[in-house]
Symmetry: C5
Subunit: 354 residues, 5 copies
């Protein structure tokens, strides 16, 4: 269940703003990359220390600092000091169990998103926190580990053409959010295929394993939903927000992401409905099969138990059993047995059991 | 499950406004038709290229350009350029996985609807995206393929009489939306008949097949609901919208379509409730039948197993079994067997098992 | 399922305002009656043509025209022309599949209600559309067929005393709506009795038939709810509406009907809950009974199958079976059989199966 | 089901404001009592006629008239005339099937509450209507029959000390509502104990009777909820209402009752959840037991049926069966039987059926 | 069920503001501790009587009085008198069955929270009421018994550094609320582990015990939810409240706690969903197993019952049974038996029962 919340007990009792990294322990060094661009120029760099980044802040209009890895608290602290970020924001960045949310601090907007990926080996959903800080001339993005979702955004920046180079930070933040949301569709597709596969399996040859898979998928859906649900609110408040940091023109684009988010939610709900339907179907199928099994048993037992009883009667060793002495007893008995058999058979036919 | 969402992974990573057609691949040429009319005149034309259409824009007050097929990106792009349509709108037109929605861009209103049809062979619902652009003097409608739903609207335009010829673009857009929504009732009717048929089958002679059909219909209902649900919001915002593009008088008509949409939703919900009821009924019926089967088995077994035991006793070959030698053992035994039989029979009668 | 929506396919493709009667075909002549009254005078008349009614419009302050039967389109059209009713309203009057709703057209208010009756033979709910037009000095009511629900209102008008004669059109419209809503309680009472009967049957002697009846009632409840649910909204908007057509004093009375509607909804919801409970109870009862049946079978089989086996052993014809020759084999065997029997019996007692 | 609504058919067709008592028929005389007090004085009286009460109206600041029994219409009518109460209010007082509600008529506020009691014999909830009229200097309370819930309020008035004597009518009305709501907790407690008892019974020794009790309690919960649910709204509108009749200071106290009401609703919801859980538990327990029973049957049958077959083989009377003649056939057979037995036994052990 | 509400019947009939302690009876003396601090100074004291505390009120800017134990009514009364607390507040403090809520009395804000702990022995959730009064220069906190949740806050105060010493009462109240909410996560963690354990047990080796545990956890979740749900509202109204007692800067921190509360609710809901899923899984697993059991029984019975019948036939003692005399009867019979056996076996294979 630990994927449903982050262990926070380690943190209990600390004052707010205490930067304690909450997440899996990691050893790799944090990677810092910087992209600095306007319509004509572009500068891309891997940095060794965060201080290098501060120099670029006031050069070209858009500065995007991407931090892959948040387990080095000192980097976060330095960023906090330099950009005057509220301690609660810094805390939320490293404490990765946040709900998606947005907070407007006038000078900058803080956005928390969840990146969803699918672990094919463990066969379950993984969620990673992406924190974004949108300042007037800079964007800082924090990922828990190096990912490739922002790769496409980077490529679009590198091409001289395209709206992204004509626009400012707010458009870049839209592009980043859009990249995260677009990625959800890939997960949905995977889920959809799994559901389709389960449905076919269920209709053709249900196994106990099928049940476990339905249950498993249902739980993953609960988890997925939990991560995506608040995003709607996030985008809505970004659109409604009367901040100077986001231009009207960009809001049209954010509205587009909002639409996508709603679509993701709709599909998740539909999937949940379909999975519930599959579970019902599974239960009904089992009941049906049980019924089949019981019918076979009942038919066999009902036909042969009385016959066996009659055979038993004439297997008795009483001295005085007149039937035993008669000449045609045996063939007559066979006739009787066959009549009983046919009678039973016809009754079952009538009851549509056969 | 792929009917629940459109594959979008192909598109991931592209900048917004990139026109990539999302849908089944098609080879047929896109069909462009134009109707240009006012109260007295009417001009109807099949066009070979979209450029021809642009000439008619400023002639008669209402120009309706209908595009059947959206897989030729260049046509969409030309329209976009000529009518100054926002790139996001163009993207939504070709990316057919949109939710029904409306967006007001001051100079024009963009509306996305879902046309629902029923594929009798595959026995499932098909949804097709209809995009409408309402400008001051023009309407552009995009369908995924040639359909006949707008046919009735065309015929009404052709007749000189009728409100449609007295009115402007906003009334025509109403007529188009109305045509789409009216079509939903036909699907509902089909669904209703199927449900009725299933219900009868269930009460008279349920088969495993019945269960699958209920499940199937339930899933189609989920899909139908998903496509129609947002329409309510669409119509509501068209009615509430303070745009100059829609006259007050037309809003009365839109309110009428809104009522129809609510009716469609109500009926879908009722159908879902009825289908859930059918599933419960099916499960209960199976349980009932199982009960019947088990009773028969139990009655037969309970009566004959003890009798067979007694017959077995006197089938033993012990040398010293006094009963075997007695003269009336055999008839006495029969009396005992019949008494046991009657006793059991009466008990079952009392328990109302017979 | 056709009771859940009206067949509308006949109408698809027509322009709005086209008057096509949607409902069962009828041959009887439409009945038109008129009541014209003020505090002191009253005039009641059966009319042969609708034109006769128009003459009375400006005489006494309240003119109530009641139309029983809406299948004669020309009457509706004449009314429409004379009172300047919007074509959409006329369409809604004859197209009886409307949701309950109210629409304010300044000069008049259009109200759609559903009259519910119970068909004892088919054992299901019937819903009939009642359309009301409230003008400044007139009320026009349309019923699908002659009914007796408005009879009580007529009688109250005939009595010289009573608030109804002191008041204007708005109070009469309240009286008509109230009559319709009051009628719902009679249906609820019938439903309630049926549920009570089912519950008793279920607790005393459930039959497969009981299940079908629960299912049937549940479906009727879905239908009932669908017809009544929107009424709440209708009354609310009548109360909130800032129209001159309804006086403040009358709104107090409308609030009273509103309360009744909420009560009807509450009771429907409770009935649905109770019916769901009954279904659960039915399923559990069946499971319980199955358990009983299985226990009997298991007890009998578990006791006698081993005993029969032992009897079978000594029924074998081996030449060399020492036990067969012993003198006390037979009585000893009986002792053994009885011990086994008692052992089994005690075990079942302990397991509380007996 | 009649406890879910009041029979109203008797009333259908009457004009509003017609005072027809709806409820059980009663013969006892209506009891009228009066309490008249201010900070220093208090006058308590049992009245023989309602007219006596009217004299006290303008003496001390708070006059509380309590009417136990509403089946004497003339009393209600006299009150109505004297205090100028709207006919709809009078109707609602005698027509006891009202939903809890509050209506502000400027000069007075009309409040309908439900008093809940528990009938230990019939083992179900009883609901009684309490109507309160809050005027500027008087409160009139109507109960269906003499109850003791208001007794505590009376006692508090009698004591010279206490806020109630310092305050006005609005505080008294609060005290009365509070008394009614406080009484709900006693019912909840009773319900809670019953649920706890059922749960223990279910875990230790479930019987068919347990099921009926769960079902019964669930239905009572539906009824309880129905009666209390609207109260929230009632209190909320009393608090929000901008009437002069209720002072700001008293609203604090009403807020307190509101909190209690929410608590009652919360607990009812929790109880419903717990009861649903119990039902699931019951069903699962039955399934578990059935499983146990079936296992026993299957083990016995699976072991002994094959053994019996083998014994049957050697019970056959063929002349030429070589085994019958062999010397060690019988002991060898026993060995074979025991081997089969052990083999089966071990298999069941492995499957964890034993 | 008594954990779902507090016994209040003892209190019924008392006037509001009567201080009657509702909770378990206790004997220990109430512990009063005081912390008085500003940026530079700090004074910590255990007090013997509450009067001692009043002296510190106006010294340093923040005075925090913590009362462990609320069963000594006189202490509460003295506090009430000294700080001019509304009697309803005092009542709510000692009557521990309150819902979490906040009430703004201008001079002070009253907050009720629920502290949740987990009783490992009884294996269930315990809820304890924490009441907080936030005045301009003082905070009074009431706990039902001595706990350690506020210990961490105390330690943070003791350290000279940290925001808490720079801030005022409103920040301290935030710290206290935060401590309570943070503690919920520990409970969630425990619950999560239990669910995870149950799920593994269910998939590997479900026992009747597993069912009871799922049921138990579900009920605890209902209880947990009931205690936490209203907290959202509480924090929201603290944030929205236009009181001078809470500074804007502190509201940022309260928003943070609000986020945590939403997270707690989200997780509770997810856990409830997962538990429902587990129950379904359990039921399906049982059905599956039953199916397995029944198949074994049916296979054995279906194969051996007919064979036994045949053996029974030739065990009959008729004088004239030609087969008995034939030489190869016995081997031929074996062949027939084996053929029947194989036929049955193959049929079961085909049906996939084997």
């Amino acid at each position: 269940m630990s994927r449903f919340y982050k262990k926070t007990s380690r943190k209990t009792g600390l004052s707010p703003g205490s930067l304690i990294y909450i997440g899996k322990e990691k050893r790799e060094k944090v990677k810092i990359s910087l992209i600095n661009y306007d319509k004509e120029q572009i500068l891309e760099k891997k940095l060794r220390s965060i201080e290098e980044a501060f120099a670029y802040e006031d050069t070209l209009p858009v500065t995007w600092i991407n931090i892959d890895g948040i387990h080095q608290i000192d980097i976060i602290e330095k960023i906090g000091k330099h950009f005057k970020i509220h301690p609660l924001v810094l805390e939320d960045i490293v404490h990765t169990g946040q709900r998606p949310k947005t907070e407007d601090y006038e000078d900058y907007i803080f956005i928390v998103l969840k990146m969803i990926s699918f672990d094919d080996q463990k066969n379950h959903i993984l969620s990673e926190q992406v924190s974004l800080i949108l300042g007037r001339h800079y964007i800082i993005s924090f990922q828990e580990q190096e990912g490739d979702v922002f790769q496409y955004v980077r490529e679009r920046i590198r091409k001289t053409k395209g709206r992204i180079r004509d626009s400012y930070c707010d458009y870049l933040i839209y592009a980043l959010i859009d990249a995260v949301v677009d990625h959800y569709f890939i997960i949905l597709e995977k889920m959809g295929e799994k559901i389709e596969f389960l449905e076919e399996e269920l209709l053709e040859n249900p196994k106990p394993h099928t049940l476990e898979n339905i249950h498993h998928l249902k739980r993953e859906m609960i988890l997925f939903r939990k991560q995506v649900w608040p995003l709607r609110e996030v985008l809505n408040s970004l659109i409604k927000d009367e901040t100077e940091l986001i231009h009207e023109a960009t809001k049209l684009f954010l509205r587009d992401v909002y639409d996508h988010t709603v679509q993701v939610m709709d599909t998740i709900e539909s999937f949940r409905d379909v999975l519930s339907g599959l579970l019902d179907l599974y239960l009904s199928t089992i009941s049906n099969r049980m019924n089949e099994v019981m019918k076979v048993l009942t038919i066999i037992a009902t036909i042969f138990i009385p016959l066996t009883f009659i055979a038993g009667i004439y297997g008795m060793n009483f001295k005085f059993m007149p039937e035993l002495e008669w000449k045609y007893s045996y063939p007559i008995l066979w006739v009787i047995l066959i009549i009983i058999f046919l009678f039973m058979f016809i009754r079952f036919k009538k009851k549509k059991w056969l």
